[in-house]
Symmetry: C2
Amino acid sequence: MGVTPKFVYLFREGSSKMRDLLGGKGAGLAEMTRLGLPVPPGFTITTAACNHFSSRGRFPPGLTSQIAAALKRVEAQSKRRLGDPKNPLLVSVRSGAKFSMPGMMDTVLNIGLNDEVVEVLARSSGNERFVWDAYRRLLQMFGRIVRDIDPHRFEAVLDRWKAKTAGGKDTDLTAHDLRAIVGEFKGVFEDERKEFPQEPREQLIEAIKAVFESWNGKRAVDYRNFHKIPHDLGTAANVQTMVFGNLGDDSGTGVVFTRDPATGEKGLYGEYLANAQGEDVVAGIRTPLKVGQLRERTPKIYRQLDAFAKKLERHYRDLQDIEFTVEAGKLWILQTRSGKRTARAAVKVAVDMADEKMIPRDEAVRRVEPAHVIQLLMPRFDEAAKAAAHRDGRYLAKGLNASPGAATGTVVFDPDEAQRMGRDEKKPVILVRVETSPDDVHGMLWSKGILTTRGGATSHASVVARGLGLPCIVGAESIRVDYADASFSAGEVIVRRGDAISIDGTTGEVFVGRIPTIDPDFKGEKELLTILSWADGVRRLEVWANADYPRDARRAREFGAQGVGLCRTEHMFFEEDRLPIVQRMILAGTERERQEALDKLLPIQRGDFAGIFEAMGGLPVVIRLIDPPLHEFLPKYEDLLVEATELRIAGKDPERLAEVERLLKAVAAMREQNPMLGLRGCRLGIMFPGVTEMQVRAIFEAAADLKRAGESPHPEIMIPLVGHVNELRVERESLERVAKQVMTEKGVKVDYKFGTMIEVPRGALTAGEIAKYAEFFSFGTNDLTQMTFGYSRDDAEGKFLMAYVERGILPVNPFQVLDRAGVGELMRVAVERGRKTRPDLKVGICGEHGGDPESIAFCHEIGLKYVSCSPFRVPVARIAAAHAALRAKAGPKGTD
Amino acid sequence: MGVTPKFVYLFREGSSKMRDLLGGKGAGLAEMTRLGLPVPPGFTITTAACNHFSSRGRFPPGLTSQIAAALKRVEAQSKRRLGDPKNPLLVSVRSGAKFSMPGMMDTVLNIGLNDEVVEVLARSSGNERFVWDAYRRLLQMFGRIVRDIDPHRFEAVLDRWKAKTAGGKDTDLTAHDLRAIVGEFKGVFEDERKEFPQEPREQLIEAIKAVFESWNGKRAVDYRNFHKIPHDLGTAANVQTMVFGNLGDDSGTGVVFTRDPATGEKGLYGEYLANAQGEDVVAGIRTPLKVGQLRERTPKIYRQLDAFAKKLERHYRDLQDIEFTVEAGKLWILQTRSGKRTARAAVKVAVDMADEKMIPRDEAVRRVEPAHVIQLLMPRFDEAAKAAAHRDGRYLAKGLNASPGAATGTVVFDPDEAQRMGRDEKKPVILVRVETSPDDVHGMLWSKGILTTRGGATSHASVVARGLGLPCIVGAESIRVDYADASFSAGEVIVRRGDAISIDGTTGEVFVGRIPTIDPDFKGEKELLTILSWADGVRRLEVWANADYPRDARRAREFGAQGVGLCRTEHMFFEEDRLPIVQRMILAGTERERQEALDKLLPIQRGDFAGIFEAMGGLPVVIRLIDPPLHEFLPKYEDLLVEATELRIAGKDPERLAEVERLLKAVAAMREQNPMLGLRGCRLGIMFPGVTEMQVRAIFEAAADLKRAGESPHPEIMIPLVGHVNELRVERESLERVAKQVMTEKGVKVDYKFGTMIEVPRGALTAGEIAKYAEFFSFGTNDLTQMTFGYSRDDAEGKFLMAYVERGILPVNPFQVLDRAGVGELMRVAVERGRKTRPDLKVGICGEHGGDPESIAFCHEIGLKYVSCSPFRVPVARIAAAHAALRAKAGPKGTD
């Protein structure tokens, strides 16, 4: 047998580097102790001890005596002794794992009290009520946490006693009442045949064991599963001397941030409640002071607090969230941690700290999450209007803030109706459901926001809404939905189908009526612009945008796009004034009719392209030739079928019937079983060269005209859906011929490239061949994901994909976050093989993943040149690309 | 400068090993010379000389003098001299490449004749007519081949002269006529401003150059492209002493096979025409003698011929096709080559030669092509009935035999009608078209055979028909189709839509009326059974069969299947008596209704499985759980839509309307945009576990009952469409639970396996993960091809795939021949990764490619354990698997 390992560390023996062993809380207490801050003395029992306990069901040998030894040191330091009725030491026991797990934290306070100590202390302390209250809290916590007694049993006793008082609140209970309550609490223990140990050391050991056990409790396991925290880390247990903020008016407790967590403004920000314990602050019984007011009341304490806060912020180089207690005029610091903050504060704090030289700019960039950028660019409520809604009593309920952003709209309960109103009537609707299921997705797609009364952060509604970028609140449990009545109630208020509500997905608040939303002002976000410019200096990936119209291209450039990575030419075909011409082209009976229609489309497309080239100045514009199957441009088969049947029966309009039947026949001939895998992409261009030739002519005529006018357009022609090198070869050969012809006609040379989308698995696998004819690749990861998984997105998301994600069959929706193992491998292979054939091959991505931070990181890893995303996502992508570069620089360890 | 290479080889200097240099014909002549056969002396100019000529446009240095030297040797041997009027040597010049290229072979005969030689020879030979005829042939061939004069110009002269004779035939022309014709032929040369050289040596050199030039002629290039022969091989030119079979009654010419090429029976088989040249045999002017009759007429010649034939067959160890000429009582052998033979002969010859120890059994196996096996197992015409049809004048025309097999059916010209009659009315139809296009495929699918009047072996009709295994004749140019009249004419005969015709795709013959077809008798094919048993001894790949019903399983076993590789359970659901129950199950409003329907299906499925297990004895049976989307089992949406519209307008049957609308709603909810990529495969099992659990219960109840009855069933449960390991994990866990429960209930252990199809690209890429939960993989290459290429087969084949193949964008239809570069790579990766995780992983293939010889070879190469194909393909696969093993044994060189 070797030496017994060290399982117990006094706070002064540890440091912030020992998170693995001491947990986050223990390491923090140790670090603060080392910094010389007034931390109530105590010690930490390591995660290693916990893991031993978890696997063997008992303490490791030597732990009990190590605890006893540490306790003796703490007793010496505080000059009190556990269980000594004259001068008793009271301690708390708290869990604390390596990563913060808010749902799990178990705490037992006031250990050390027992019948004897309480009696003596009640007499000697001069604060009998405080002592009995402390004992009743110990009994209550010990019962719940250590003995697993239903907490309602204790609350029921308390409620009964409170009901007897005048005020009906905790504070209205007298020492006498509390003493009686203690008696009844003991009765609960007996009733449950569970023991409350009178021996303080036994209380301590039992509490430590309970903390260890909580590591494998259901709540904790679920939390770790969701946050992907390994189950074998274990939790530490912290034993710390109690300090009391409720010993009188020179006592109190508070929370302070080193900067404003909402705005990021510098200066202490927080609250202080005199003569109170932490719990009381949470209970909101009395209105706390702003921390600024403390300065006037007790300047010394304030000065101390300010100095400690500055010290901690400088030490941790981040905004700190500090808990403190004043016990009879003495300031104790109980905890510090990185403060949670809004997106706005995150950006401002990062920029300010970099300007203050507290952190390097790289670190400032690293601290602004893509989610922060998303949030700053989301519509939000006008703050004044929201405050007014609160004042007017229009606040209804609060739920879990499952997906950020503000939305206001008409209440709808039925997803079909949501779809109808949202899609067909273009009305903003908020879909309200008890919970959602795959059957509701078609309605969610057309809603402005989602509100459910059940479910948590991983519920179907949450997952879908985050995916769609829709504001969403889930688990608003105070709301009762009555589908039959098409209404919901929140307290007294009843909201009916058709009424307006407003939801703030960022905070979880629900209001009745409309609250005006404010669109983000990108150019006004000075700190964001600063961070983005720093990010631009860090990243290697370029960020381009998908833009089909000049207005999109202009917006993309404002947001910092360095090119257009995808201009979908067919979207132009769908516009109202063009569709009839497109239909004439498709249905043409003769070559001449077809050519006439194409001749009409040519100047229109030329104008489209000219607009985009102009908007992008000299930046590259990747134009994808027509992609969707032609039947998408025709009336729907089913509609024609019904009309034909009706006309046939009515027998009144033979001309229209003939026309409809002609159309029906044409559409029937073009219909496909699986249009996603049918006659589309380059297959169209090969089978019906007229359209793509017209498109290429339009592109080059527009570019040549601009070139002659002194501009420098850079068209890059992208041929979609290539799976075999020969497809690209024949398309490129015939189209480049058109391009050269136009340039000869116009007497001007345009810089251009020909390339292809890689969106078919075979295209990726044979990229080495394909690169012979492609000057660039652009990954179409939407289609590539569809084909690699064999999922039709239209069908899958509604019918099974969400269920897969909910059930953990898939970790995420692969249409949102790029699947590294499957789709990603094909991309990696394509990049390698393509570059082997053509070392200067330009490779980018233009699928939706181009705007997803995790996917952008992957694109960086495999060495793409650019990501292209929707214009609004460009700033997000700029940050994400910088993060990817920083992570790569940090090396394989990553930055935690 | 080094030594001039040797460009000219006398026949006696070469051998059969020098095919690269001397071409097939030259090497053959050399080999026969070496064997001591009476070959007219001559020499060969090498392919190297041709290649020099092709690239530089002139003979290599030294060639002319090498030709002169060789010619001198030949003159010495034959004791004649080129251009010597007294004793002139006449020679032929023939092309001859390494690989036989029938379309290309250019020949100039009778070189050495000129005005002077002819005059002298006509007088001295005593056969004036023969001499003038020879001269006119030289002029005609030289004009066409060397001088590129339109051959019709010569034919027109000949026709005019023939018309003047009594008989109107070649043979009716007198010496006088021929002399006049020679004069007119010279006029044609003058008219065309082209020279006919009187100098024999110049004739010779020009003819050699023309042969070299023909290598790059359009016909030759097309032929090589189609047969994938490299363009840089070049052709040799053979210069050979002329011998004449038309010098009188002791002369003649013939062709003889060493065995009957139709049946494979031993003994000389062939034809002999006295006093004739080879051309005359082809022209069919006189009926030739059977070679047997020669025995009686000139026993000495016959004995010589028989001895030479035996010698050649023994030497080449294959059935020989020998050309010979008797010149004034002396036998000359002009050519020998492997004889073309029918499938039946190929099999019999291979078996006989192995039995005669002429070749080893491996070689016998190698000589039987999968196509031979296909042909022997195709329906064919009753020979007597076909002969009767010939006698009755029902023979109509001959076209190109594009796809083998016999078919008889009703003539249809419109593909829509073919589809309607074939699919809906189940009538056998023959689709007759001028040519076919992708628009016709839907009709071809439902026809029994295809006949076109245009197109060749690579035409759309040929490609599609071979793919579908349909008898097909193309390019029947003597037939005129009149679509407007819905009829076709062949000579005097007019065949109308609705009339019956019969086509023999193996021979290219078209008949009017029905000819009874004979189904093949596998068990009666003794030699085939022998070859297959030898093949079984050679191959490593097992051959399994796809069988959905007990009758299929029994047939598969008869054909030699070693297991069932794919039993599609859903086909059972489509049977008439079951479909209503399946529909009730799908449309069930409550869990109870659904369960009731499932309970009804259980015993039915159990019976299905029991039948298959019994049929297969102890062999493994891989059962794939339900795969297609559920809406496939419901009425079609469009049909319901029309019915609902009609009922709504009629307003008479509100009950039926309500019913139809209910169905319509249910079907609408289940419809998918791309059902191939929707809710099917394991996704169904995960979302609606009831069906798959019922199926697994049925499988294990059936197996357990049989096991208790002393049988040893081996079910292998196959989960389809797995793309992520978790899909397989959850499915397997829940289904294996059912399996174990059934075995517990029945108190018996069944040997079983759980595995998966690999048919989604992601499944292949992540096979290492998937193998953790799979005991076997089976490649579903139909779906894998669909997803890897992004082709929906239903849409692609009709709309663009055939056009791709015709235009050479794809080398073959990847649904017929496995695509090695894309789909194949995914398979290779899956095998490697799967076996890395689970070294004893059993891997097979059950897509249609499992019956395609080229694809089978690939499966052998990547180390699969078995291929599974349709029962009829099992014998083909057995041979193909043996070939793959032999090829692998022969090493990377292959076997030519």
